[in-house]
């Protein structure tokens, strides 16, 4: 029930959004050039970090737009929100995982 700053609508409750998982997974331009392992890597393997996660969200109960968020998966603190196609925040701006969350 954390708050997410939709780039178009402003700050809203997380319940209005739906999470699309890890961001910046680019669909391979030529899937046929990949072997089964590399294709599986694209399809299934995920970073799933404990800490800042670059992930996709859609404001499903609002404007319907997809965007990216850098969110700490321990504290749910959102470091930044940025539009699709924009660069993620610089790694130094992503705070380390506070261990207190355990």
């Amino acid at each position: 029930m954390f708050l997410i700053e939709c780039p178009w609508c402003g700050r809203r409750d997380q319940g209005e959004f739906s999470c699309g998982g890890e961001a910046h997974i680019v669909r391979p331009a030529s899937p046929d050039d990949l072997d089964d392992e590399s294709w599986a890597d694209y399809l299934f393997n995920r970073k799933n970090p404990k800490g800042v996660h670059l992930e996709q969200w859609v404001h499903i109960q609002g404007c319907g737009r997809w965007f990216n968020a850098a969110r700490n998966t321990v504290s749910n603190k959102i470091v930044s929100v940025y539009k699709v196609g924009e660069e993620p925040p610089h790694p130094e701006k992503r705070k380390p995982v506070p261990e207190s969350g355990q």
Binding site: G21, D41, R46, K47, N48, K50, E55
Partner: protein, 416 residues
Amino acid sequence: MQRFSALRLLGHGLTGHKHWRQSWRHPEPKREYDVVIVGGGGHGLATAYYLAREHGMTNIAVVEKGWIGGGNTGRNTTIVRSNYLWDEAAHLYEKSLKLWEGLSHELNFNVMFSQRGVMNLAHSLQDVRDAERRANANVLNGIDSEILTPEQIRQKVPLISISPTARYPVLGATFQPRGGVARHDAITWGYARAADALGVDIIQNCEVTGVLKESGHVVGVETTRGVIRARKVGVVAAGHSSVIAQMAGLRLPIESHPLQAFVSEPCKPALDTVVMSNAVHAYISQSDKGEFVVGAGIDGYNGYSQSGGYNVIEGAVAAIVELFPTLSRIRLMRQWGGIVDVAPDACPIIGLTPLKGLYINCGWGTGGFKSTPGSGWVLAHTIAHNRPHELNLPFTLERFSSGALIDEHGAAGVAH
């Protein structure tokens, strides 16, 4: 190991319970073991126990970052069943259920396995078709499974509303009589005590901070209590599997999600069966203390916070009240969350990894508790023989590249 029995309990009662021995040792970690198991939950402890008992490997450490059983083993709704749809899953979970049936005896620790039956409700015609398919598959796989009519459901569980005018009326159910619930802490303590008796070192408050590699082989772990070398390392870290894998330089096809559960205040016995409903999404049983134990669905985002959104609790409570209208006035007493590791096909990943010496057991998602004995049993076999047992052969990482997924998620619906 000091044996437990009614007679011994009586004896100790007469002497004021002053002479019970400690259930397991609290050793300092040795510098090197044959096998280090990362994760002191039920699965990790079971792995160590079966390695020692079935494969004669006793130079083993289980390292746990907190207290054993403090993760999902101690946080789940304790449902045990084996009525899975796909053959591969059914065989694995049935192996586990069979182990459950002898576990109190085997461990000499009463894990309070209560085979009160598990019911999965069907609320639509498609649910009914799926239920038929599953029950038939179960029986042909040698697993007890029945189909109940609404009237039979009402007889077993008078609390359920089978009103045909309900928003999602109950049209039927599958029922596994041998399914049930168990005491979550007991499984931890029972395995810990039995493993310790076989020589396994259980090392608590020992967090893994790195994975040691030498020329592509995993040779141990770095921990908050120093470096521990090992010939083989088994990672049984549930929601934290990706974290450990990352230390080893691997990515896994799993995502960690918060999963919430709650109990009501204790009430006099009123619900004799475990009831699950995928359509309205909740599952419920009544504990030996009288609490109604309810599980919710996962929160829809990656999370390591052991807490989730209130909206998920709202949804689960509404589902319970809808199914059990007389529970509306009882009160929610305690709510908590765990971190579950969800695989794309809602099935576990148990096997070798691309790194020699590193073994993985994860991806149990919302359904890990029931498989604790079976999971430990097959992973122990895999570690001991350096190849999967035929029961977990379909559950290795290879299925993700071959495409041979076992889609309990899409097919069976309920994966808890």
